[in-house]
């Protein structure tokens, strides 16, 4: 809330700090505030509260109008690929999405596509047991594409609706790992499956690197959306503003905790209100 009642330099500074502090980033913040300055001139705003409302309204407008559905393909099984850098919440998110799908009456097969990290398959298998989904895994160190291919074949055999494919965390700076991911995406469609979602899982505590991640991952595997995790913490996840504006990639889901039910659809209004709370 703006402490000053009349708009002055301190008012603008407070707004700048709120945006920067929320990881909206320098460029997006400057752009938003420059646009707001024009509106103040044009509309003759004088109160700090008017200014905050105008900024919130502007951000909400810019964040709305995106496709936030998780799409199923015309023919089953659909394949939803979960990608992202290390430790962001991909495996946990798959557990939550599986529960969501099962509650909606659909059958889910999980693919343990992280064949690299210690106990990755065991972690996913635990989630599968918890929600009542099948989990197809391979051997540690095996080919991730083969695991996902097998999972899709299994899903087709049992008439499952969706394959949730887990992948190993990887930094976009690793050329060979991004190439491996491209192959994973290609192979996921070789069999009976159709890739209808490629979701970047992004940690809300991430700073400006989040935009770089989105740029690199979409270049590699053509992202359909973002899952913003750990928004139950104090971080605001403001980097998604630039991700949506610059790359047109919508945030579809938000992770709000570590249990199976802690997943909600992304709501632009709630997000903007929380940013300034």
């Amino acid at each position: 809330a703006l402490r000053r009642s009349k708009i002055d330099d301190e008012t603008w500074e407070e707004l700048e700090y709120a945006l920067i502090g929320a990881d909206v980033g320098v460029e997006a913040t400057q752009e938003l505030l420059d646009h707001l300055r024009e509106r103040v001139r044009a509309e003759g705003m004088t109160e700090g509260s008017e200014l905050l409302d105008a900024l919130k309204g502007e951000m909400k407008t810019r964040l709305s109008g995106y496709d936030r559905e998780l799409h199923h393909a015309e023919t089953s099984p659909s394949v939803w690929l979960f990608v992202g850098v290390n430790g962001v919440g991909k495996t946990t998110t798959i557990g939550k999405v599986a529960k969501r799908e099962i509650d909606a009456g659909r059958t889910v097969v999980m693919a343990a596509g992280d064949t690299f990290r210690a106990a990755a398959a065991e972690q996913l298998e635990t989630w599968a047991d918890r929600v009542g989904a099948e989990c197809v895994r391979g051997n540690e160190g095996g080919d991730p594409s083969a695991v996902i291919y097998d999972a899709v074949e299994r899903a087709a055999a049992i008439n499952a609706d969706v394959v949730l494919a887990d992948t190993a965390g990887r930094l976009h700076t690793k050329v060979n790992l991004m190439e491996e991911l491209r192959k994973v995406r290609r192979v996921a469609e070789k069999g009976a499956g159709t890739v209808s979602e490629v979701l970047l899982v992004l940690d809300a505590t991430t700073g400006q690197n989040g935009l770089v991640q989105a740029q690199q991952f979409t270049e590699a595997v053509d992202l359909t959306g973002v899952v913003l995790t750990k928004l139950d913490g104090s971080a605001k996840g403001g980097i998604i503003f630039a991700i949506q504006e610059k790359l047109g990639i919508p945030v579809k889901l938000v992770g709000l905790g570590e249990t199976v039910d802690d997943l909600v659809p992304f709501d632009p209004d709630e997000f903007v209100e929380a940013l300034f709370a």
Binding site: G87, A119, Q123, G207, G233, A235, K236
Partner: protein, 290 residues
């Protein structure tokens, strides 16, 4: 990069022969933007810029042959001073074992770096024991056991509760004659009162000689909140900075160092257990400046 931004300004003022107050302000504005883009917390940036201004005001820039160089050097110097200071030298407990506690947010790299640290202690001639006190994340203990096997370090855990596991792990280390104990804990939010109380109790139970906050190098503005809360609850001895093999500028490290006032002890630079070493402030300083 900061150098490009500053070059533009200096090219314009070079002809004038002396630097005015306004010129210095303009330069400092560019440095501020570069640091914010590097994820340094905006409050930390404010204090940092004030310090750099003091350096520059006293340094007779207008008389310098190459004022541009002087500014970049002043910023670089101030960054290294803030990030560095004394390297953490591990001193071992006179009555073993030396207890190390690993804490931090979810997914920051605690479990992997517990194993990396164990491997590092082995290279120093020590005999560590890993204690898996994360009983909440699915397969967390398996993860630690798998990593322990890779480096032939024993792993202790039991399905009781985190505080009891930590305590029992310490007893086990004494029983086995291990001289270092590394306690891995569950990731937790700094604003989760219950979980922060739990880690405080773990600390109370094992009285660590070293408590490390494990921080992801790509963390943004919120790093300050995290560092303050963990430091208030646990009294940190150092920070372990992870995922430095990415291209995040790493400004969170500056924020954390500023707020906690304890050394960044180690740097994790990859997914393999060998990608781990003592922290070098000069490398990070260059990276933050961009």
């Amino acid at each position: 990069a900061l150098s490009d931004r500053l070059e533009g300004i200096f090219a314009r003022i070079r002809g004038r022969g002396r630097l005015s107050e306004d010129d210095v302000d303009e330069v400092l504005r560019e440095i501020r933007l570069a640091l914010l883009e590097a994820d340094v917390n905006f409050r930390v940036v404010k204090n940092f810029i004030a310090r750099v201004r003091e350096d520059l005001v006293g340094s007779e820039l207008s008389k310098a042959l190459n004022p541009f160089q002087q500014v970049v050097q002043a910023v670089h110097r101030e960054l290294i001073n803030t990030l560095g200071g004394e390297t953490l030298r591990i001193t071992y407990a006179s009555r073993p074992p030396t207890v190390v506690l690993m804490a931090g947010l979810q997914g920051s790299g605690k479990t992997t770096n517990s194993a990396k640290l164990a491997r590092w202690f082995k290279s120093q001639g020590r005999n560590p024991l890993l204690v898996g006190a994360d009983l909440q994340r699915p397969a967390a203990v398996e993860q630690l056991r798998t990593l322990g096997n890779q480096i032939e370090v024993p792993v202790f855990s039991e399905p009781t509760d985190p505080v009891s596991v930590a305590r029992a792990g310490l007893a086990e280390a004494r029983r086995l004659g291990r001289d270092v104990v590394i306690v891995d804990t569950a990731g937790r939010l700094a604003i989760d009162q219950e979980m922060m109380e739990q880690v405080r109790q773990i600390s109370e139970a094992v009285q660590p000689h070293y408590t490390f906050l494990v921080i992801d190098a790509m963390t943004g503005q919120d790093a300050v909140n995290t560092a303050e809360a963990f430091h208030a609850t646990l009294e940190l001895d150092g920070v372990i900075l992870t995922k430095l093999d990415g291209d995040a500028r790493g400004g969170a490290a500056l924020s954390v160092k500023e707020v906690v006032g304890k050394p960044i002890a180690f740097a994790s630079t990859g997914e393999k257990l060998k990608d781990f070493d003592l922290f070098h402030p000069d490398r990070l300083a260059g990276r933050i400046l961009g």
